[in-house]
């Protein structure tokens, strides 16, 4: 059971990761940034699983599961923050949140 060459997997993974990264850097809505972060994580997950298959061990898959758990937690916190912002009727724009400026 060989499937496509690993290079294809890694290409897709890299594409997903850069797409996500670009989204994080460019977009200003916290919701979209969270989505983009998820895409980055999933890109990384894809690479982990691809290597796991390539080497024939389960380590990468275990890592991917851990990343998913962390991602879930992160989404909970992130969405909670967004809900809090919405409740206080703050504009959903990360560039407006500059209180921590030095």
């Amino acid at each position: 059971m060989m499937g496509p060459n690993i290079v294809w997997y890694l290409c897709v993974s890299a594409f997903l990761f850069t797409t996500g990264a670009a989204g994080v850097l460019i977009r200003r809505s916290p919701l979209i940034i969270l989505l983009s972060l998820e895409i980055m994580l999933n890109g990384a997950n894809l690479a982990l699983i691809a290597f796991s298959r390539y080497h024939g061990t389960g380590d990468g898959q275990i890592f991917a599961l851990t990343v998913m758990a962390v991602a879930a937690a992160e989404v909970v916190v992130g969405l909670g923050l967004i809900v809090a912002m919405a409740r206080r009727r703050l504009e959903l724009d990360v560039d407006k949140l500059r209180t921590l400026r030095g």
Binding site: A21, V24, R28, I33, V94, D95, L97, R98, R101, G102
Partner: protein, 622 residues
């Protein structure tokens, strides 16, 4: 015997601690009574020691007593020990006896002062320190007592600490004494290095075996300490200023006991001084120079206490002279009579000052003999004793010193002449003071309206006792006819010189004539006012410019140096480098602050970019 000696030593310390710890729980009066009682107990214990010592054979009267090993350093051990011998017992009797009278007098004198408890605690501490000094069994303990009397003196001179002059005088006394303490400590270092011990019993027999250089250096160190403590040339300038303290303090510390510690030291360490005859001659010369100089300055002083202070300096000059030429017992006898008549003069002056509500200026006094007749007679007795007029105590103690000087070759003859001039000056300045204060017209004003003659029992009775003692104490030793004092002290400090009868007769006749002459001149000018008082010379008014000299030699250069260091070292180097350092850190902080934009996306970009750079580096380097 040892037990009594320890009680004598520790009773005042106990009182000082009790007064300090009890604080407000003890009434002010109670503190005075407690201090007086403790010093009285010391005196009783000293008398017991004396009586017990009398029972021993004259050459077997040394009783060291060690409480514990104090410290061990290498092969040296030092004991916390006391020595009971004729000399220390003699001093114990003087210190505790006169101390008792003066502390009792203080109850009346200090009545109503805000800080009586502190005063009596200090007084008790002083008596303890002085007893420690005279009872010490080795030179280290002696040095400890030496330092502690300096401390008590400092505390008591500055007792009225809200007066800047008092604080300055206290500091001056302390610094001057610190010079002496340092000199003495250096001498002792050398001594312990050479002999391996500081115990009297070891050091004194070994003193003869020291090389002349070492003996001279050690004796010079000890002399330095003695000169500072006893206010002799060239460290004499602190004593007149010390009169800023309360009058009983002047009487006890700066007349009767502490300032005579230098004489005690020379007599105690006579073995070391005899190994260094040159230093002994220096001591005698310094004493003579001081007695002359102080006598001259006393002539122009206008403060009643300062006249007596300079007279103290002058009389201690006689004692130094005696100790320097080896007439130890004569010096110690003069110490005893001086303690009586000088304490008397100070305490009587205290009554005058009290009666005039604090006035000390002789020029504003006058006619007091009608208002204070009993104090006037006390002054007369004290003055006659001081001037060495027969039957009063000073006559019997001062003249043997002078006749001993006459028996000491050409150097002694010079000293004898100086001492004789001193006799004349003594009569003159003493009776100038008495005539100015007690004769003449009464001056007007509230200041000069003493309320009553005898100011309470504690002051009146003590002055009366001292008057009697000053009058009759001379009969303790009448030349060579009756010599209990010499017999008592000679085993400890055998005299180097014994005058002949002719020399004694000549000395006494000349001294008494000159003393009477001084009194006569004083009467002519200040009593009868038959002649105009001469203008005081600038040299004398400025006390021979010693203060100015020390100011120019030590104080000004030190201040200049400090200013220079501040300006050229501290400000540019220390302050400058610190300023630069803080400036740099602050600028760095301001710069770094700009990095924190608060924009999440810049942080994300920074992370992504640096990650990209790291990746590139990895790839390229491989």
């Amino acid at each position: 015997m040892s037990a009594a000696a320890w009680i004598c030593l520790l009773a005042p310390l106990g009182a000082a601690l009790a007064i300090t710890l009890a604080g407000q729980r003890l009434s002010r009066r109670g503190a005075g009574y407690l201090a007086t009682a403790s010093v009285g107990a010391s005196f009783v214990a000293a008398v017991v020691v004396f009586v017990l010592l009398l029972g021993d054979s004259p050459n077997n009267r040394e009783h060291p007593s060690v409480a514990w090993h104090w410290l061990t350093a290498g092969s040296y051990t030092f004991n916390l020990g006391i020595l009971v011998d004729p000399l220390s017992t003699y001093m114990m009797l003087i210190v505790a006896g006169v101390g008792f009278l003066i502390v009792a007098y203080s109850i009346g004198y200090m009545d109503g002062d805000d800080e009586e408890r502190r005063y009596f605690a200090y007084m008790a501490l002083f008596v303890f320190s002085m007893l420690l000094l005279v009872q010490a069994g080795n030179l280290l303990i002696l040095l400890a007592g030496w330092g502690m009397v300096g401390l008590s003196s400092y505390l008591l001179i500055g007792f009225w600490h809200e007066r800047p002059e008092a604080v300055a005088a206290a500091k001056k006394a302390f610094v001057m004494n610190a010079f002496g303490d340092a000199a003495m400590a250096l001498g002792l270092f050398l001594l312990v290095q050479q002999t391996g011990s500081l115990d009297f019993g070891v050091v004194f027999p070994a003193a003869g075996g020291l090389s002349p250089t070492v003996a001279n250096l050690v004796a010079l160190g000890l002399l330095g300490g003695a000169v500072a403590k006893s206010a002799q040339l060239p460290l004499q300038t602190w004593l007149p200023d010390a009169m800023e303290g309360p009058t009983p303090v002047s009487a006890l510390i700066h007349a009767a006991t502490m300032v005579t510690a230098g004489v005690y030291l020379i007599v105690r360490t006579n073995a070391i001084f005899e190994a260094a005859p040159t230093v002994q001659e220096v001591a005698a010369g310094l004493g003579a120079a001081t007695l002359l100089m102080a006598g001259l300055i006393a002539l122009v002083q206008t403060d009643i206490k300062r006249v007596i202070a300079y007279s103290t300096m002058s009389q201690i000059g006689y004692m130094f002279l005696a100790a320097g030429i080896g007439a130890y017992a004569d010096g110690m006898f003069h110490l005893l009579t001086h303690a009586f008549f000088k304490a008397l003069l100070f305490l009587a002056a205290g009554i005058v000052i009290h009666a005039l509500s604090g006035e000390q200026d002789l020029r504003k006094m006058g006619g007091l003999r009608h208002k204070l007749p009993r104090t006037y007679w006390s002054f007369i007795v004290g003055g006659l004793a001081l001037a060495g007029i027969p039957v009063f105590s000073g006559f019997f103690s001062k003249d043997p010193i002078l006749s001993s000087a006459l028996a000491q070759g050409w150097y002694g003859e010079i000293l004898w002449v100086v001492g004789m001039v001193g006799c004349f000056l003594t009569g003159l300045y003493t009776f100038r003071m008495i005539f100015l204060a007690f004769w003449g017209e009464e001056k007007d004003g509230d200041l000069h309206a003493p309320e009553k003659d005898v100011p309470g029992i504690s002051m009146g009775v003590t002055v009366a006792i001292l008057t009697v003692l000053a009058a009759i104490a001379g009969f303790l030793q009448v030349f060579e006819l009756w010599t209990p004092v010499s017999n008592w002290l000679d085993p400890v400090a055998p005299p180097l010189v014994v005058p002949t009868s002719t020399q004694e007769v000549v000395s006494s006749l000349v001294a008494v004539t000159l003393g009477l002459g001084g009194i006569g001149v004083a009467w002519w000018i200040y009593g009868a006012r038959r002649a105009e008082a001469p203008e005081p010379s600038k040299l004398l008014e400025h006390k021979f410019y010693f203060d100015e000299l020390y100011d120019a030699i030590f104080y000004r250069p030190a201040v200049l140096l400090a200013h220079g260091l501040l300006r050229f070292v501290e400000r540019p180097l220390v302050f400058g480098s610190l300023r630069e350092l803080t400036q740099g850190v602050r600028e760095l902080g301001t710069g770094v602050r700009n990095l924190q934009t608060g924009l999440v996306r810049t942080y994300a970009f920074a992370i992504a970019a640096s990650l990209a750079v790291v990746t590139l580096v990895f790839v390229v380097v491989r």
